[in-house]
Assembly symmetry: C2
Homo-oligomer: 213 residues x 2
């Protein structure tokens, strides 16, 4: 079985603000052995952002007239629209419940502002610097478990003119994101999508093991 | 190690027009055991299209004035541009060596017309009906090897506003392409990208094993 690589979900349970995400990943790694050198760990951006405290309480948000107008047009909560506007470089279009934005250097529904994976009355923003988040998790895993892993902070995104969401890498550490024209980090993020669940399933991460670049 | 799934490349060697691709996949499957029930087999569209004889010889192509004009503007072979125009619903833009087209229901560089994976003096078109190709390969594997597999015909595509190519499914058989809003077939195609090579490496396919939807 050489040339095979393997993939498994990491059931950390729910991640809460302030949680040490590296320790949760180490504790969730399959036994015996736990994490090993060369593992690539994929973590959902919503888990990373929650641990980093990137929650916004809606009751403190005052929508502008522009936010009220877009909220009316697209049947959305004006407070959420206001946060989306603050996170966006531009709003390109919309449909009921969704604004298509240019934000964080890409096309991004709702500018990454997520109500579905947040506590009641809150939304989660994207991690402020996903590359730095990935590097921080990688360093913390090295310090706690003594292993060298690669880390990807991943998101689930729609592809223009297609149905459904696939994975993309928002940031990575310990690996090349692109190799020979291949979006390797995006491909690994999509691989992890196949075993990761929504936040309430408590599987916000995955291991990709024995994959050789 | 339950909850793990595994992925491996299938080294069929070079695929030529008229090859029985199902038999090549069966012969390339890892021994002992070969293909087993529940395997998902991903095959590159270039291999499928080549086996189906979707080659066009350039020396028989007469470019129109529109093709000559686009070829001059984007530094391309006017005969290849002519074929791209025939395969496209619309040309949306271009850059040197590449036309961005609307074709086959999506955004598609060069309308899927591929010179890099074709014999000298030829280009390969996309499979005419990738879903039917996937179903045909699935049926042929069942008939020859007696196993029930899922089959995805996959392509490698750039994602707008990002670098590098990831996998997408052009067609699939024996599985759902979308599940709970997740583009499962696209995610599996990206997973396979991590072990598949360019045509000249002779690894145009992959097995995804033990993955549970």
């Amino acid at each position: 079985m050489d040339r095979w690589f393997s993939v498994s979900g990491l059931a950390t349970g729910l991640i809460r603000p302030g949680d040490a995400i590296a320790d949760r990943l180490i504790a969730a790694a399959p036994r015996p052995g736990g994490l090993v050198d060369g593992d690539c760990i994929v973590v959902a951006e919503s888990a990373v952002a929650t641990a980093e405290g990137r929650l916004v309480r809606l009751d403190g948000v005052k929508p502008t007239p522009v936010a009220h107008d877009l909220a009316r047009r697209y049947t959305m909560d004006p407070r959420i629209v206001e946060i989306i506007l603050q996170e966006s470089d531009a709003v390109i279009g919309g449909m009921p419940g969704l604004l298509l934005c240019r934000a964080h250097g890409t096309l991004l529904p709702n500018a990454g502002v997520d109500a579905s994976n947040a506590p009641p009355g809150c939304v989660v923003l994207l991690p402020a610097n996903p590359g730095a988040s990935a590097a921080g998790i990688r360093d913390a895993i090295r310090a706690s478990a003594g292993v060298e892993v690669a880390v990807i902070v991943a998101d689930s995104r729609p592809y223009p003119m297609r149905s459904g969401c696939a994975g993309i890498a928002l940031g990575c550490a310990g690996m090349a994101a692109i190799r020979h024209g291949r979006a390797v980090a995006d491909c690994i993020a999509s691989t992890a999508e196949l075993v990761m669940g929504e936040a309430d399933e408590g599987i916000p991460a995955a291991i990709v093991r024995w994959w050789k670049p």
